[in-house]
Protein backbone atom coordinates (compact mmCIF):
# COMPACT_ATOMS: atom_id res chain seq x y z
CA UNK A 1 0.00 0.00 0.00
CA UNK A 2 1.17 3.49 -0.77
CA UNK A 3 1.40 6.22 1.84
CA UNK A 4 2.52 9.82 1.85
CA UNK A 5 3.49 10.97 5.31
CA UNK A 6 4.33 14.41 6.72
CA UNK A 7 7.89 14.39 8.01
CA UNK A 8 9.57 16.99 10.16
CA UNK A 9 12.61 16.59 12.38
CA UNK A 10 13.55 19.92 14.02
CA UNK A 11 17.14 18.70 14.42
CA UNK A 12 17.56 18.03 10.69
CA UNK A 13 14.85 19.76 8.67
CA UNK A 14 14.26 23.45 8.21
CA UNK A 15 10.85 22.75 6.71
CA UNK A 16 8.35 19.90 6.85
CA UNK A 17 8.17 17.62 3.80
CA UNK A 18 6.08 14.72 2.55
CA UNK A 19 7.72 11.30 2.30
CA UNK A 20 6.36 8.45 0.19
CA UNK A 21 6.22 4.88 1.39
CA UNK A 22 5.15 1.64 -0.23
CA UNK A 23 4.67 -1.26 2.13
CA UNK A 24 2.92 -4.60 1.90
CA UNK A 25 0.52 -5.06 4.80
CA UNK A 26 0.41 -8.45 6.54
CA UNK A 27 -2.95 -10.30 6.33
CA UNK A 28 -3.55 -9.43 9.99
CA UNK A 29 -3.04 -5.69 9.40
CA UNK A 30 -6.55 -4.23 9.33
CA UNK A 31 -6.17 -0.78 10.86
CA UNK A 32 -4.00 2.14 9.83
CA UNK A 33 -2.03 1.89 13.07
CA UNK A 34 -1.07 -1.71 12.22
CA UNK A 35 0.42 -0.46 8.96
CA UNK A 36 2.25 2.39 10.67
CA UNK A 37 3.81 0.06 13.22
CA UNK A 38 4.85 -2.24 10.37
CA UNK A 39 6.33 0.78 8.63
CA UNK A 40 8.51 1.44 11.65
CA UNK A 41 10.11 -1.96 11.14
CA UNK A 42 11.87 -0.54 8.07
CA UNK A 43 11.95 3.15 8.97
CA UNK A 44 12.10 3.66 12.70
CA UNK A 45 12.68 7.40 12.34
CA UNK A 46 8.94 7.94 11.84
CA UNK A 47 7.44 9.36 15.03
CA UNK A 48 3.81 9.13 16.10
CA UNK A 49 1.99 8.64 19.37
CA UNK A 50 0.02 5.46 20.09
CA UNK A 51 -1.00 3.43 23.08
CA UNK A 52 -4.24 1.49 23.55
CA UNK A 53 -4.71 0.55 19.85
CA UNK A 54 -8.45 0.34 20.43
CA UNK A 55 -9.75 3.90 20.21
CA UNK A 56 -9.97 4.84 23.89
CA UNK A 57 -6.76 6.66 24.73
CA UNK A 58 -6.83 9.23 21.93
CA UNK A 59 -3.06 9.18 21.39
CA UNK A 60 -2.96 8.51 17.64
CA UNK A 61 -5.17 11.31 16.39
CA UNK A 62 -3.97 12.57 13.02
CA UNK A 63 -5.18 13.92 9.69
CA UNK A 64 -5.94 10.96 7.43
CA UNK A 65 -6.68 11.76 3.77
CA UNK A 66 -7.78 15.24 4.80
CA UNK A 67 -9.98 14.30 7.74
CA UNK A 68 -9.00 13.90 11.38
CA UNK A 69 -9.30 10.46 12.93
CA UNK A 70 -7.68 7.85 15.15
CA UNK A 71 -5.20 5.61 13.28
CA UNK A 72 -6.01 2.58 15.42
CA UNK A 73 -9.71 2.45 14.48
CA UNK A 74 -9.40 3.62 10.88
CA UNK A 75 -9.74 0.55 8.65
CA UNK A 76 -7.23 0.22 5.80
CA UNK A 77 -9.97 -1.12 3.54
CA UNK A 78 -11.79 2.24 3.83
CA UNK A 79 -8.80 4.34 2.79
CA UNK A 80 -8.01 5.59 -0.70
CA UNK A 81 -4.40 5.28 -1.75
CA UNK A 82 -1.99 6.92 -1.45
CA UNK A 83 -2.89 7.26 2.20
CA UNK A 84 -1.95 10.82 3.07
CA UNK A 85 -1.07 11.33 6.72
CA UNK A 86 -0.51 14.71 8.30
CA UNK A 87 -0.47 15.92 11.89
CA UNK A 88 -3.56 17.47 13.49
CA UNK A 89 -4.19 20.77 11.69
CA UNK A 90 -3.30 23.91 13.57
CA UNK A 91 -1.30 22.22 16.33
CA UNK A 92 2.45 22.97 16.69
CA UNK A 93 4.41 20.03 15.29
CA UNK A 94 7.05 18.59 17.59
CA UNK A 95 8.15 15.92 15.13
CA UNK A 96 6.51 14.09 12.22
CA UNK A 97 2.97 13.29 13.38
CA UNK A 98 3.55 14.23 17.02
CA UNK A 99 1.96 17.56 17.95
CA UNK A 100 2.18 19.78 20.99
CA UNK A 101 -1.03 19.38 22.98
CA UNK A 102 -0.12 21.83 25.77
CA UNK A 103 -2.38 24.67 24.64
CA UNK A 104 -5.22 22.24 23.99
CA UNK A 105 -4.94 20.93 27.56
CA UNK A 106 -4.62 24.46 28.91
CA UNK A 107 -8.09 25.20 27.53
CA UNK A 108 -9.37 21.99 29.07
CA UNK A 109 -7.98 23.03 32.44
CA UNK A 110 -9.40 26.52 32.10
CA UNK A 111 -13.01 25.25 32.13
CA UNK A 112 -12.37 23.54 35.49
CA UNK A 113 -13.22 20.01 34.40
CA UNK A 114 -14.01 18.64 37.86
CA UNK A 115 -17.04 18.57 40.11
CA UNK A 116 -17.38 21.70 42.22
CA UNK A 117 -19.66 21.19 45.19
CA UNK A 118 -18.76 22.70 48.55
CA UNK A 119 -21.85 21.51 50.35
CA UNK A 120 -21.02 19.22 53.28
CA UNK A 121 -20.43 15.78 51.78
CA UNK A 122 -23.21 13.29 52.43
CA UNK A 123 -22.58 10.09 54.38
CA UNK A 124 -22.26 8.07 51.19
CA UNK A 125 -22.43 9.22 47.57
CA UNK A 126 -24.09 12.34 46.18
CA UNK A 127 -27.28 10.83 44.77
CA UNK A 128 -28.12 11.23 41.10
CA UNK A 129 -31.24 9.85 39.48
CA UNK A 130 -30.94 7.72 36.30
CA UNK A 131 -32.47 10.59 34.35
CA UNK A 132 -29.90 13.04 35.73
CA UNK A 133 -27.13 10.56 34.99
CA UNK A 134 -28.42 10.14 31.44
CA UNK A 135 -27.73 13.82 30.80
CA UNK A 136 -24.02 13.05 30.97
CA UNK A 137 -24.25 10.53 28.13
CA UNK A 138 -22.55 11.80 25.02
CA UNK A 139 -20.33 14.06 27.17
CA UNK A 140 -18.33 11.96 29.58
CA UNK A 141 -17.03 9.62 26.86
CA UNK A 142 -14.65 12.22 25.42
CA UNK A 143 -11.09 10.88 25.19
CA UNK A 144 -9.49 14.28 24.55
CA UNK A 145 -7.96 13.12 21.28
CA UNK A 146 -8.32 16.62 19.78
CA UNK A 147 -9.71 15.41 16.45
CA UNK A 148 -12.51 17.95 16.89
CA UNK A 149 -10.50 21.01 17.89
CA UNK A 150 -7.99 20.12 15.19
CA UNK A 151 -10.72 20.33 12.56
CA UNK A 152 -12.40 23.48 13.82
CA UNK A 153 -11.67 26.59 11.69
CA UNK A 154 -12.33 29.09 14.54
CA UNK A 155 -9.90 27.08 16.67
CA UNK A 156 -7.33 27.25 13.87
CA UNK A 157 -7.59 31.05 13.74
CA UNK A 158 -7.66 31.59 17.52
CA UNK A 159 -6.16 28.58 19.31
CA UNK A 160 -5.22 30.76 22.27
CA UNK A 161 -8.52 32.50 22.94
CA UNK A 162 -11.23 30.15 21.72
CA UNK A 163 -11.67 27.20 24.09
CA UNK A 164 -12.50 24.86 21.22
CA UNK A 165 -15.05 22.06 20.85
CA UNK A 166 -13.30 19.57 23.17
CA UNK A 167 -12.96 22.05 26.02
CA UNK A 168 -16.52 23.29 25.53
CA UNK A 169 -17.92 19.76 25.49
CA UNK A 170 -16.19 19.11 28.79
CA UNK A 171 -17.40 22.44 30.14
CA UNK A 172 -20.95 21.37 29.34
CA UNK A 173 -20.36 17.95 30.91
CA UNK A 174 -20.04 19.73 34.24
CA UNK A 175 -22.74 22.31 33.59
CA UNK A 176 -25.12 19.42 32.90
CA UNK A 177 -24.07 17.49 36.01
CA UNK A 178 -26.81 17.74 38.64
CA UNK A 179 -24.24 17.38 41.44
CA UNK A 180 -22.22 20.43 40.37
CA UNK A 181 -22.86 23.77 42.09
CA UNK A 182 -20.70 26.11 40.02
CA UNK A 183 -22.98 26.46 37.00
CA UNK A 184 -23.25 30.25 37.28
CA UNK A 185 -19.47 30.67 37.45
CA UNK A 186 -18.92 28.22 34.60
CA UNK A 187 -21.38 30.06 32.37
CA UNK A 188 -19.88 33.42 33.36
CA UNK A 189 -16.44 32.19 32.34
CA UNK A 190 -17.66 31.04 28.94
CA UNK A 191 -19.74 34.16 28.24
CA UNK A 192 -16.97 35.82 26.29
CA UNK A 193 -16.71 36.94 22.70
CA UNK A 194 -13.80 34.52 22.18
CA UNK A 195 -14.06 31.69 24.68
CA UNK A 196 -17.42 30.31 23.56
CA UNK A 197 -18.72 32.64 20.91
CA UNK A 198 -16.21 32.02 18.16
CA UNK A 199 -18.27 28.92 17.32
CA UNK A 200 -20.13 29.33 14.03
CA UNK A 201 -21.81 25.91 14.14
CA UNK A 202 -19.73 24.67 11.24
CA UNK A 203 -20.11 21.18 12.76
CA UNK A 204 -16.69 19.99 11.59
CA UNK A 205 -16.15 18.79 15.16
CA UNK A 206 -19.12 16.43 15.17
CA UNK A 207 -18.13 15.17 11.69
CA UNK A 208 -14.78 13.82 12.89
CA UNK A 209 -15.32 12.78 16.51
CA UNK A 210 -14.15 9.15 16.68
CA UNK A 211 -16.41 8.51 19.68
CA UNK A 212 -19.43 9.86 17.77
CA UNK A 213 -20.01 12.67 20.23
CA UNK A 214 -21.47 16.01 19.27
CA UNK A 215 -19.51 19.00 20.55
CA UNK A 216 -21.67 21.23 18.35
CA UNK A 217 -24.75 20.12 20.24
CA UNK A 218 -23.05 20.63 23.60
CA UNK A 219 -22.13 24.16 22.52
CA UNK A 220 -25.72 24.73 21.42
CA UNK A 221 -26.85 23.68 24.90
CA UNK A 222 -24.38 26.03 26.57
CA UNK A 223 -25.72 28.90 24.46
CA UNK A 224 -29.27 27.98 25.43
CA UNK A 225 -28.25 27.92 29.08
CA UNK A 226 -26.62 31.33 28.84
CA UNK A 227 -29.72 32.71 27.15
CA UNK A 228 -31.95 31.17 29.79
CA UNK A 229 -29.87 32.53 32.66
CA UNK A 230 -29.94 36.06 31.25
CA UNK A 231 -33.69 36.34 30.70
Amino acid sequence: MKLSIYRYNPEQDTRPRMQSYDIAPAPTDRMLLDLLLRLRETDDSLAFRRSCREGVCGSDAMNINGRNGLACITALAQLKEPIVLRPLPGFPVIRDLVVDMTQFFAHYHSVRPYLINNEPPPERERPQSPAERARLDGLYECILCACCSGFCPPYWWNPDKYVGPAGLLQAYRFIADSRDRATRERLDFLDDVYRLYRCRTIMNCTEVCPKHLSPSRAIERIRARLLGEAF
Binding site: P154, W157, N158, D188, D191, D192, V193, Y194, R195, L196, Y197, R198, R200, R223, L226, L227, A230
Partner: protein, 110 residues
Protein backbone atom coordinates in the same frame (compact mmCIF):
# COMPACT_ATOMS: atom_id res chain seq x y z
CA UNK B 1 -24.45 39.89 31.23
CA UNK B 2 -20.86 41.04 31.51
CA UNK B 3 -19.51 44.18 29.88
CA UNK B 4 -17.62 42.18 27.25
CA UNK B 5 -20.32 39.56 27.00
CA UNK B 6 -20.50 37.35 23.94
CA UNK B 7 -24.15 36.60 24.63
CA UNK B 8 -25.30 40.14 23.90
CA UNK B 9 -23.88 40.21 20.37
CA UNK B 10 -25.25 36.75 19.68
CA UNK B 11 -28.74 37.74 20.81
CA UNK B 12 -28.60 40.95 18.73
CA UNK B 13 -27.53 38.90 15.72
CA UNK B 14 -30.30 36.33 16.11
CA UNK B 15 -33.06 38.84 16.87
CA UNK B 16 -32.05 41.16 14.02
CA UNK B 17 -31.82 38.13 11.72
CA UNK B 18 -35.39 37.14 12.50
CA UNK B 19 -36.64 40.68 11.98
CA UNK B 20 -34.73 41.02 8.72
CA UNK B 21 -36.10 37.72 7.48
CA UNK B 22 -39.63 38.92 8.05
CA UNK B 23 -39.05 42.31 6.45
CA UNK B 24 -37.17 41.04 3.42
CA UNK B 25 -39.96 38.60 2.64
CA UNK B 26 -42.58 41.31 3.17
CA UNK B 27 -40.78 43.87 1.00
CA UNK B 28 -40.06 41.28 -1.68
CA UNK B 29 -43.70 40.26 -1.89
CA UNK B 30 -44.86 43.90 -1.80
CA UNK B 31 -42.50 45.06 -4.55
CA UNK B 32 -43.39 42.04 -6.64
CA UNK B 33 -47.11 42.65 -6.32
CA UNK B 34 -47.06 46.47 -6.53
CA UNK B 35 -43.87 47.55 -8.30
CA UNK B 36 -43.69 51.35 -8.26
CA UNK B 37 -43.74 52.77 -11.79
CA UNK B 38 -43.19 56.40 -11.00
CA UNK B 39 -41.43 58.59 -8.49
CA UNK B 40 -44.75 59.66 -6.93
CA UNK B 41 -45.86 56.04 -6.50
CA UNK B 42 -42.53 55.13 -4.94
CA UNK B 43 -42.55 58.08 -2.58
CA UNK B 44 -46.15 57.41 -1.56
CA UNK B 45 -45.30 53.77 -0.87
CA UNK B 46 -42.39 54.65 1.39
CA UNK B 47 -44.19 57.55 3.09
CA UNK B 48 -47.04 55.32 4.23
CA UNK B 49 -46.91 55.24 8.07
CA UNK B 50 -46.65 51.42 8.19
CA UNK B 51 -43.89 51.48 5.60
CA UNK B 52 -42.02 54.20 7.51
CA UNK B 53 -42.05 52.23 10.75
CA UNK B 54 -41.16 49.01 8.96
CA UNK B 55 -38.27 50.65 7.11
CA UNK B 56 -36.95 52.23 10.33
CA UNK B 57 -36.91 48.91 12.15
CA UNK B 58 -35.56 47.20 9.04
CA UNK B 59 -32.58 49.53 8.68
CA UNK B 60 -31.86 49.49 12.42
CA UNK B 61 -31.86 45.70 12.37
CA UNK B 62 -29.76 45.65 9.18
CA UNK B 63 -27.07 47.91 10.60
CA UNK B 64 -26.95 45.98 13.90
CA UNK B 65 -26.79 42.66 12.07
CA UNK B 66 -24.08 43.90 9.72
CA UNK B 67 -22.06 45.20 12.67
CA UNK B 68 -22.14 41.88 14.57
CA UNK B 69 -21.34 39.91 11.42
CA UNK B 70 -18.41 42.03 10.27
CA UNK B 71 -17.08 42.26 13.84
CA UNK B 72 -17.07 38.44 14.02
CA UNK B 73 -15.04 38.26 10.82
CA UNK B 74 -12.54 40.85 12.09
CA UNK B 75 -12.21 39.15 15.49
CA UNK B 76 -11.53 35.84 13.76
CA UNK B 77 -8.83 36.98 11.35
CA UNK B 78 -7.21 40.15 12.67
CA UNK B 79 -4.95 39.40 15.62
CA UNK B 80 -2.92 42.55 16.00
CA UNK B 81 -4.86 44.68 18.46
CA UNK B 82 -4.14 48.16 17.04
CA UNK B 83 -5.14 47.08 13.51
CA UNK B 84 -8.22 45.31 14.79
CA UNK B 85 -9.32 48.39 16.71
CA UNK B 86 -8.74 50.60 13.68
CA UNK B 87 -10.74 48.35 11.34
CA UNK B 88 -13.61 48.00 13.81
CA UNK B 89 -13.67 51.75 14.29
CA UNK B 90 -13.82 52.26 10.53
CA UNK B 91 -16.66 49.80 10.15
CA UNK B 92 -18.56 51.32 13.07
CA UNK B 93 -18.21 54.80 11.60
CA UNK B 94 -19.35 53.57 8.19
CA UNK B 95 -22.45 51.92 9.58
CA UNK B 96 -23.27 54.81 11.90
CA UNK B 97 -22.88 57.26 9.01
CA UNK B 98 -25.29 55.16 6.95
CA UNK B 99 -27.76 55.13 9.82
CA UNK B 100 -27.41 58.86 10.33
CA UNK B 101 -27.95 59.57 6.63
CA UNK B 102 -31.12 57.48 6.63
CA UNK B 103 -32.44 59.02 9.83
CA UNK B 104 -31.74 62.58 8.71
CA UNK B 105 -33.34 61.99 5.32
CA UNK B 106 -36.44 60.63 7.03
CA UNK B 107 -36.63 63.64 9.34
CA UNK B 108 -36.10 66.13 6.50
CA UNK B 109 -38.85 64.50 4.49
CA UNK B 110 -41.45 65.33 7.11
Amino acid sequence: MKLLSGLRAWVVQRVSATLLLGFVLWFAVWLFLVPPDSYDQWRALVAHPTAEIALTIFFAALLAHAWVGVRDIVLDYVHWRPLRAAILLGVAVGLLATGAALALAALHAR
